[in-house]
Symmetry: C4
Subunit: 234 residues, 4 copies
């Protein structure tokens, strides 16, 4: 088999073999992720664990082979190595080789970065294109909202620290601890692990939520409206 | 009574008798559902329980009769049997007969599927039509969001597992357990049964929420905007 | 003073005395509500409690006098008595007289219905007019969403009852108990008093939330869009 | 150096030295805030605490010098002193001098008001301008929603007090305590520290949420739509 035909299989998603290759890699990514997920269950028996380990070794070897092939067939090898997908491909296999000798098993989670490869499959779908367009329209708005959210979280952390620190020194021990409360409250998640108990803190929470809800929920609304605009303009 | 007139009563919702028949079935569905719901209360006395059981037996018998009649009067019997409503009609009565002999009482809940029959009553309402139109416009967007949500939940499960597994091995025992946290957090439900306690996990939660809120809440916004468009275009 | 001039003071909000009368009643409503709220605090001393009781007796007497006057000056007495505000005026004073003899103190809360009188003050504000217009535009959509929400809550109650009843018989003891979970979950409030613990229940929660979030949050979006339309059309 | 050149450095953000001066103050604000935040951590050692205190003394001294310079170079001294930024500048340094002698350390948190100075840096950014425009469009709508929210919170407080007071006298001891429940519920935060346990209270919660969700979440949607309009009109 000539290098050019291997090249077309790996890089050209439009050819028949290229499609099969892409699909094979995508299925393998899902197999790798599912087997990794199952292997984290502490109650599975040793036999199943070994099988899952074996699957992971095999998938990483195939991914390594794919990585080497991609370098070999690339016209500009350095460009691929330092491209977004090139770096992801490397990061997703590197931890495996490092953890053979070292005790860095948790690094293996990096293989999930391979998930981004799945995005390639939807790259040409029209609706995805619409999302990219909508995202570009509101990019600067989203940035400002991110800044406003950080600002709001800091402000409310100072405020709640001032009100609750003396009443609940263990939950609101510092500004940084209070930030955790701010995140859980302004996003309306409200786990209930920390909450104000003083009257001042409760009134402060009311006011910060009145302002906060109008800030934190806006990006989703912006996205929806921009998406609709992109839809109409077609 | 001729077969054709029974046919018109059962199938033709526009005739007077057809309307009465439809209304009778709809009232019966609600009676069946309410009596089923009440019968699940563990503290009701035996007498009431027997009355509710009786109501359920009678309603199922009527629904069975209706099902048979619908098959008899249908021009294309197989088409009805395998149609959406045909299957629902069967599933909603079948469990009753199975549970007479077997201990599969929980299957009786399938009778609630009859609720879908109620939708027939609103089928021709203009606003419902608008919903269908709005839904069709954003179908592909909703699909992408569903995929993005699943992707986001998986990503955040891996992340929180990495941060919290060693600190809370009982709550974040595996990727699948961590997924439950992801679902409760990204939807902002936040029951408070599982939440991060490490600093790393809390910072991770902040970032995942910043991205997540802009994804999970978008479908509702999309729906609202599409609905408004459908409204204006009339 | 002639009857006609009293009539103009009570019914004509545009005359100088009419405005003063309206403002006086509105201030009195707020005084009545604030004193009622304070009187519910269990730790206040007897002296303050008696003062608050006195304020409430006086305000109710004035409201009673106002009610009688409104009947006297009305051209069509029965029309006023059975109008929206006529009924509210009666309900807000009636419990007071009933509770003098009977132990129905809690009925006194009905006086808060007087709050609706405050709406009269904003009746002619332009932005309020816009709200009414926006509300009228989406009335039928909101109704359908209310029905869909009730339907969704019932469906998810059955589902979670099926999954969790045997594991948590005290929290999910009947369909009606499960409904409380559905309400707290689909609105994303998530108090954390009841939550699924079985794997099946958790997966079911995920799916019901995926659908539910796109339904429950839509009315707010609809309102926002309709309001913007009403704004633009001016 | 002449007074006019110092004036241009301090007041003219367009000159080279003016820009450097602005940037220097902004960096100092962030240094001051970060060091303040770290100094609230109770577990830091004495040495670090003293360094952080020193940083705070130095930054306050520089801010004081800046405040005096701004008064000296201002053409209309009183106008600056009573301007928005003039008052903020004073409030952010005053607590420091008060707390040297008095035990009012918590007042030091006012220095965070200096954060508003950071807004100056983004004042000329186009997207911020868009926000201001969007905010102005919906100002009256937001006000009405604020009133409606307060009204709704009061109404639901009375309601839940009526249902839960006798069952949970410690959590719903007065209307004001019930308000805390209303805030946590209507914003869907749902900490889980207070929640209804009676059947009446639960049904009431359902109805109040059906109405409340359509009110509390609207401002965010309004903002998103107005922002999109401002974007399109450019």
């Amino acid at each position: 088999m000539k290098k050019t035909s291997i090249k077309s299989i790996i890089e050209d998603a439009d050819s028949v073999y290229g499609r099969i290759f892409d699909l094979f890699i995508q299925v393998l990514i899902i197999v790798s992720i599912v087997s990794f997920s199952i292997s984290t269950i502490p109650t599975i028996n040793t036999q199943l664990y070994l099988i899952l380990e074996l699957i992971q070794v095999i998938t990483v070897l195939i991914f390594s082979l794919e990585y080497l092939l991609r370098i070999i067939v690339a016209d500009k090898k350095l460009k691929y190595i330092f491209s977004f997908y090139g770096i992801i491909d490397l990061i997703s296999i590197l931890p495996f080789y490092l953890t053979v000798s070292l005790d860095l098993r948790s690094l293996r989670a990096f293989r999930l970065l391979r998930l981004f490869r799945l995005f390639k499959a939807v790259r040409y779908v029209k609706a995805v294109e619409r999302y990219r367009k909508a995202f570009n329209t509101i990019k600067s708005e989203l940035l400002i909202f991110a800044i406003a959210t950080v600002f709001l979280i800091y402000l409310s952390s100072i405020g709640i620290f001032y009100f609750e620190n003396s009443a609940q020194p263990e939950n609101f021990s510092s500004i940084f601890d209070s930030m955790w409360w701010s995140v859980a409250t302004l996003t309306t998640v409200g786990y209930g692990d920390v909450y104000p108990i003083t009257t001042g803190g409760k009134i402060f929470t009311f006011f910060i939520l009145m302002v906060g809800l109008s800030v934190v929920a806006v990006p989703a609304g912006l996205f929806a409206t921009a998406l609709q605009e992109a839809h109409k303009s077609e």
